[in-house]
Amino acid sequence: MSTELLKAVAASNDWWALGPEMTLAVGALLLLVLEIFSPKKDLRFVPPLAVFTLGLTLITVVANFDKTWGGEALFGGLIRLSASGQIARVFFLVSSLLVCFLGTICLPRARVPRVEFYHIVLVVTAALMLLAQSNHFVMFFVALETVTIGFYILVSYYRERTLSLEAGLKYLVLGALSSAILLFGIVLIYGAVGRVVVDGVVHNGFEFGTVFNFLRANPDNFLATAGALLVIGGLAFKIGAFPFQIWVPDVYQGAPTPVTAFLAVSSKAAGFAVLLLLVRVFAPLQAVLVPVLSLLASATILFGNLSALTQRNTKRLMGLSGVSHAGYLLIGVVASFSQSAAAGAVWFYLFTYLLASMAVFGVMAYVAGPDDSGEELEHFERLAKDRPFLGTVLAIGIGSLAGIPPLAGFMGKLLLFVAAFQAHLYGLLAVAVVGVVISIFYYFGWIRAAFFESWSPPAPGTAPVIHPVAAAATWAGIATLAVLAIATVVLGFFPWPLTSWLLR
């Protein structure tokens, strides 16, 4: 990039386009400065400050929602603001707000540094937002790596616990492998598009538009097809799709609960935001990609649901059921090759998944003791009796994940199914229905543990196992969980607030 370009960018108003990301970065740095200069007791202002930064950014993004610079590429083709990019920004900000909320529940129970957690969450959020706006493979890879490196740290954040360290190591090794695959794919595409000599700045083999034009002209190019497949393979790791899902249960179990939620929601959504961007770039390769992605989706749905059947550990269960959700979402991605409306359905599903997952993780955070990696379904017994509020929130969250009407998750599945029907994906629909029916078993088992078996006496001859009563929620916790639960119910009855925004 030449200095003229930098000067030109500096002179223009393009920087404003990245205002939200820069606000987050400044906030993140501010947190570190605060840690150095303020006495220890003032550190309790750290979480509110992080929440404030995120909230402020969220408000500015929502207020300037329609301001997308006319969809033009900015920064020499690196960034392109779009309506779907704005949706992604809102999604990641809301998700990170809730991750910070989970952090305030879980982190005080462990002897770990506080400030760095919020710092990394803010940085990762900014990177996630950049990722969804990227228009260039370099930008895309840098943003993705920033996210991934942030997660390497977060996953092993409980550095005195072996499970957390083990999870961090596994995530590191497999994450590095997936990055390598992804990078190899990008390089293959770059090589195939073939403009090694950069003519001008904006026309090069990394830019999405150039790649699309090349693929449209040469849909049979072997190198580019292989590259596209490798890129999708790398992304399959992020979303936890088959056959790159193998890390999910261990990492979800070992990571601190807020990080698990962050991985389950934001990291997964980032993969789908990028996939939806790339669907447009790789559209000329439909003939290869649609069968591959369909196969991936079916295998993911079946693997996720079948392997979740036998889980008793709640975090592994959430991880494996999350794999199956990635499978349902992949159906939407496949459908979006022919039905542009399917992208809206994917986003709707992601938002309902965000609300429901965060509600469930919130309850899990309260139920878990100091060691949250060993949380089993048995720990939820009597929950509905001891903590009726948490029990209700759990039931609503799980019901929504299972796709039971009248909760929001059902609307998400309905929109995906309609899109899949319109795209004639009958085989995938059949697999999805089988998956939904299987999932009833384990989701229902969880609700059964929390509600039904509370009143059953222990079997004769065995000593009753008394699990510690779940922690009482603070008023802020009650308010947050209540908002999540109510939003899940209301969006099921009346999805207008989301549909008017996502499906226009």
Binding site: G399, I404, P405, P406, F410, M411, L414, L415, F417, V418, F421, Q422, L429, V433, V436, V437, I440, F441, F444, G445, R448, F451, F452, E453, W455, F493, F494, P495, W496, P497, L498, T499, S500, L503, R504
Partner: protein, 505 residues
């Protein structure tokens, strides 16, 4: 003054709003009173709407109203209205809901408030099912009513409740998902881009679906709805679930909610997919005739448990409904609607009485009962009357339903008609034998011990009231069948509702 359309909305909203108010922490005293109001209001409103229902020119929906919920882009709006087929079902839902609600109030269930909340949600969902013109909301309300059923079985259920609730949930979710796929397929294939049944009919009247498309969509719907209505061999959830369910939930589910699938086939599949149904008619009739009526009939005879017997008998009676549907004629379809109403009332009454019997015998085992008629003559009279209704004795509404179905079935297949009529004999055998074992003969030793500790009292007025309500409705429709047949006829014969029944072969 509210318009009739608003009254229809009010009838559905009352139980749901009452459920929310009670859930928000209303004291128990007021909760019970509010629940009585919320269970009673829909019956009064339904009777009023029935009286207001236009006697002529009722070919399309009356009391229409449309509410926008944010899925307009998909062609989904909350459109409510009643036609000649849904009117009797709506009335059925309201009556059985009131009876189940009144019976729940006296049940003395632990955590009564939660029980009432769930029952009210179920009631609101049921009313919504039959008043929905939009087939998405038709499905939506069904699920809304179904979820409380699972929870009620799980919390207040009897034997094997955990297993029964799980099995019921998995079967019914599978059935519901399949039928949802069928409904989405209709939406996409019809080209109407709307879930509104009226617009779907218009679109299909303009461009009928190709034969093979109709076949596979009808197949999906039959499989999905069939599971929900316990078509043999997908019926095994029903006896188990009803055996475990608390009485009010069993009354509402077996009486009303289970009719959802049949109602859907009549309102949606019959007008929109006539060729598809014709393709499956024989297979359906064979499954229903040999499976539901004969096999399940014999299985019912072998039951020793009163509640399981009732569960199996309701599976068996659904066989008649499928047979009437498979006849693909106006007469047969009318008979199905009639039998759905009649069976809904009688099976609800039987489940109610079964629980009352259990209170007095502390067992459901038929071999450990006997002689109850001397101590509780009113209960005995009710039970015998309900059994007679179930068998289809003239004077009860069931008679007209079964008779019309047999008449229609004769044209379709005399052989299957013979099977169906032999089913009446089977149901007479198990029904009368159950009545005899419970109420007559010498009481068993176990029962004598129970009675020594808890001397049985006859039905008190809080049990009598809901039982009387159901029995009165059965007798009323038995002696005045026109109340149902007239609106049904209009809907089936009308040119707009266009149940284009195929010419007899």
């Amino acid at each position: 003054m509210l318009s009739n359309a608003q009254l229809l909305q009010l009838a559905i909203a009352t139980p749901l709003v009452a459920a929310v108010i009670i859930a928000c922490g209303l004291p128990k005293r007021f909760a019970v009173k509010l629940a009585v109001v919320a269970f009673t209001a829909p019956v009064l409103l339904a009777l009023w709407l029935w009286a207001q229902f236009p006697a002529v020119d009722a070919h399309t929906y009356s009391f229409l109203s449309t509410t926008y919920t944010g899925l307009g882009g998909l062609g989904i709006t909350l459109k409510l209205g009643l036609n000649g087929i849904s009117l009797p079902m709506f009335l059925l839902a309201a009556i059985v809901g009131l009876a189940a609600g009144l019976y729940a109030l006296r049940s003395g269930a632990e955590r009564l408030k939660l029980y009432l909340v769930l029952l009210l949600i179920m009631h609101g969902g049921l009313l919504g099912v039959f008043a929905s013109v939009d087939i998405f909301f038709f499905y939506f309300f069904h699920e809304l009513a179904l979820i409380p059923t699972f929870v009620m079985i799980g919390i207040w259920g009897g034997r094997d409740r955990s297993y029964a609730a799980m099995k019921l949930t998995i079967y019914l979710t599978a059935g519901a998902m399949l039928s949802l796929l069928g409904l989405i397929a209709l939406y996409v294939k019809s080209g109407a881009n709307s879930f509104d049944l009226i617009e779907l009919k218009d679109a299909i009247a303009a461009h009928a679906l190709a034969g093979h498309t109709q076949t596979w969509i009808a197949g999906l719907l039959l499989l999905g709805f069939g599971t929900l209505v316990s078509l043999w061999p997908l019926h095994t959830w029903a006896p188990l679930g009803y055996g475990a369910a608390p009485s009010s939930a069993a009354m509402l589910h077996a009486g009303v909610l289970k009719k959802f699938g049949l109602y859907g086939l009549i309102q949606i599949a019959l007008p929109l997919l006539p060729l598809g149904l014709q393709h499956w008619a024989w297979k359906l009739a064979l499954l229903a005739g040999l499976g539901n009526v004969l096999v399940v009939g014999f299985v019912t005879m072998a039951q020793r448990d009163l509640k399981h017997m009732l569960g199996y008998s309701s599976v068996m009676h659904m066989g008649y409904c499928f047979l009437g549907l498979a006849a693909l004629s106006t007469v047969g379809t009318g008979g199905v609607v009639f039998l759905m109403v009649a069976h809904g009332l009688s099976v609800a009454l039987l489940f109610l009485l079964a629980t009352s019997i259990h209170h007095r015998t502390h067992t459901f085992d038929l071999t450990e009962m006997g002689g109850l008629a001397q101590k509780t003559p009113v209960l005995a009279a009710f039970f015998v009357a309900a059994t007679m209704a179930g068998i289809g004795l003239p004077g009860f509404a069931n008679f007209w339903g079964e008779l019309t179905i047999f008449v229609a079935l004769w044209k379709f297949s005399p052989g299957l008609t013979a099977v169906a009529i032999s089913g009446v004999v089977i149901s007479a055998i198990y029904g009368l034998r159950a009545a005899a074992r419970v109420f007559f003969g010498p009481p068993s030793e176990a029962l004598q011990r129970v009675h020594a500790q808890h001397p049985p009292a006859d039905l008190d007025w809080r049990e009598k009231l809901p039982a009387l309500l159901l029995l009165a409705a059965l007798l009323f429709f038995g002696f005045y069948p026109k109340a149902i047949s007239q609106p049904v006829d209009q809907a089936l014969a009308g040119p707009v509702a266009a149940v284009k029944i195929l010419p007899p072969r």
